[in-house]
């Protein structure tokens, strides 16, 4: 296999040198966005949180050319990273097979741990991409009891018929709420988080600005409160995400363990 043209191409695509320069460019690209965001160049960037990527591009894409170009470059860079990592895991699989055939257990585990880390990164990229382009996010409306949340696939919307939040602060901003939504189209109620008619519904917490008036001085003050918003996906990415994180953790932990074991062995 080593001599074939395809394998040579895979080796070039999955080279460490390519990864090295690519990750530095990605790092600079994201760092630039951080600086631009902090400098307040385009405050609309945060509206990305209220839409999935495709919807955002349709609504704001042409008006916010800086963000759109940044997103496009990020997409190209992450796609290149995906190709590089994918080629890498093919090379590593081939190496793993060779080492397995030679019955070198220690080297096999060491190489398998590196493979696991790279594989989990590829998984994370795929999962994140899938969740970024599928489904629907509510456009900034906060879920309250009695409120109706609109949904592109459901013209009449979803009415929140029950919302219970725990008073325990340590439970987090989302406070483990129990939410029941009623489909206004079919009049059927369902619990969130959960599936309903091919969509997975869950809530996320977001900072919501609120203006508070001081009763004594009459001055108005803008404060941040935490509101619950609805997220609707065609895929429930949480389980694959947990799985990929576990693989990454297992790979890193085993790699460090084996590395120290090998060093100790050399001594």
């Amino acid at each position: 296999m080593e001599n074939s043209k395809i394998f040579r191409l895979i080796e070039k695509t999955g080279s460490v040198k390519f990864f090295f320069w690519l990750s530095i460019i990605i790092s600079i690209h994201f760092y630039t966005a951080v600086m631009a965001l902090k400098a307040g160049i385009d405050p609309k960037f945060k509206t990305l949180n209220n839409h999935i990527l495709i919807d955002w591009l349709k609504i704001y894409g042409s008006d916010h050319i800086y963000i759109t170009s940044w997103l496009f470059i990020a997409f190209v860079l992450v796609s290149l990273l995906f190709i590089n990592m994918f080629a890498r895991i093919i090379i590593e699989l081939d190496n793993l097979f060779d080492v397995y055939m030679k019955s070198n257990k220690v080297l096999f585990i060491k190489k398998a741990s590196v493979f696991l880390v790279h594989f989990s990164v590829v998984m994370l990229v795929v999962i994140h991409f899938a969740s970024s382009v599928s489904g629907y996010k509510s456009q900034g409306s906060v879920i309250k009891k009695g409120a109706v949340v609109t949904h592109p696939k459901n013209s009449k919307g979803l009415k929140c018929v029950e919302l219970k939040r725990t008073a325990d602060v340590s439970a987090g901003p989302r406070s483990a709420p129990k939410i029941v939504l009623k489909d206004e189209l079919t009049n059927q109620a369902f619990t969130v988080p959960g599936w309903n008619k091919g969509f997975y519904y869950r809530v996320y917490a977001d900072f919501v600005p609120k203006i508070i008036k001081n009763p004594e001085t009459g001055k108005e003050r803008k404060v941040k409160t935490i509101g619950l918003k609805l997220m609707v996906s065609e895929l429930n990415v949480l389980i694959p995400l947990i799985f990929a994180s576990f693989l990454c953790f297992a790979g890193l932990f085993t790699h460090l363990l084996m590395k120290n074991r090998l060093i100790a062995g050399e001594k």
């Binding site: 090295f20 990750s23 902090k38 949180n49």
Partner: protein, 266 residues
């Protein structure tokens, strides 16, 4: 008791600074054991201060730079004492003390325990795990930074053997830092999913995490890349930590830079 925690922390920093001056001015005298005593005393005082904060606040200081610098300087101080005992390297120790003091000044003025505030939802095991695993990675990046600076200075003195040993340590610490940083991101994502409902938000903190992760990921791979100068790793070790610190200092500095660029362009 309220100001005991704060001023013992200041006292520990003064002890580190005094060790720095002793090392700086008494160059030709064997001072190993006296410096060791100062370091152990400083670390003991620092530990007392940290535990006083934990007891009074009910959690390990975190969330704001004026707070999280206390456990971070403590972490770097442990490595500092260990490095001095194991390697007796004056140069590296001086750089480490300098870094500890710089981190202290970045976090200045340190609030007293009653002045601490924490956002709702930032209390509990999940944010605790994320913050403090991240703290460990920052401490390791800080150590990597110190090793990188030491490498440049030793290289300048043409001490090839020491430079090689430092380079090995930079490689090893970068890997550990990267592993802890990755773990902190996994813990942070789990916390974000459980408490906020989503693992990714388009906000500076998450973008910065990607930038740091990719940067240190590149650093981990430096030794496998052919044709790179030896300086690349120490340069990256220095830049990486400065960027992490810049993020910690709190980012409004970018407004100054962008304002300056806008001014030049206009």
């Amino acid at each position: 008791m309220e100001y005991f925690a704060k001023y013992t922390y200041f006292f520990a920093m003064m002890l580190y600074a005094s060790a720095f001056f002793v090392m700086y001015f008494k160059k030709n005298i064997k001072i190993y054991s006296s410096i060791k005593s100062i370091f152990i005393a400083a670390l003991a005082v620092h530990t007392i201060s940290l535990f006083s904060y934990i007891i009074l606040c009910g959690y390990v200081p975190m969330h704001k730079r004026t707070q999280y610098m206390i456990p971070r300087t403590w972490g770097l101080s442990i490595i500092l004492v260990y490095t001095w005992i194991k390697y007796e390297s004056r140069l590296l120790t001086k750089i480490m003390i300098f870094t500890v003091l710089a981190m202290f000044f970045i976090g200045f003025p340190v609030p007293a325990p009653s002045e601490f505030d924490v956002m709702p939802g930032f209390i509990g095991i999940r944010p605790f795990l994320w913050f403090h695993i991240y703290d460990i990675s920052v401490v390791l990046f800080a150590y990597c930074f110190c090793l990188s600076i030491a490498w440049f200075l030793i290289k300048h003195e043409n001490s090839e053997g020491n430079a090689k040993s430092l380079m090995k340590r930079i490689h090893s610490i970068t890997l550990w830092g990267f592993v802890f940083f990755t773990l902190s991101q996994i813990a942070g994502s789990a916390w974000a999913i459980i408490d906020f409902g989503d693992y990714w938000h388009w906000k500076p903190m998450h973008l910065m995490s990607v930038a740091i992760w990719m940067f240190y990921g590149a650093m981990v791979h430096v030794k496998y890349v052919s044709g790179l100068s030896k300086k690349v790793l120490p340069v990256m070790g220095t830049i990486g930590f400065l960027c992490v610190m810049w993020w910690g200092i709190y980012h409004d500095f970018s407004k100054v830079i962008v304002g300056y660029i806008k001014g030049v362009l206009s």
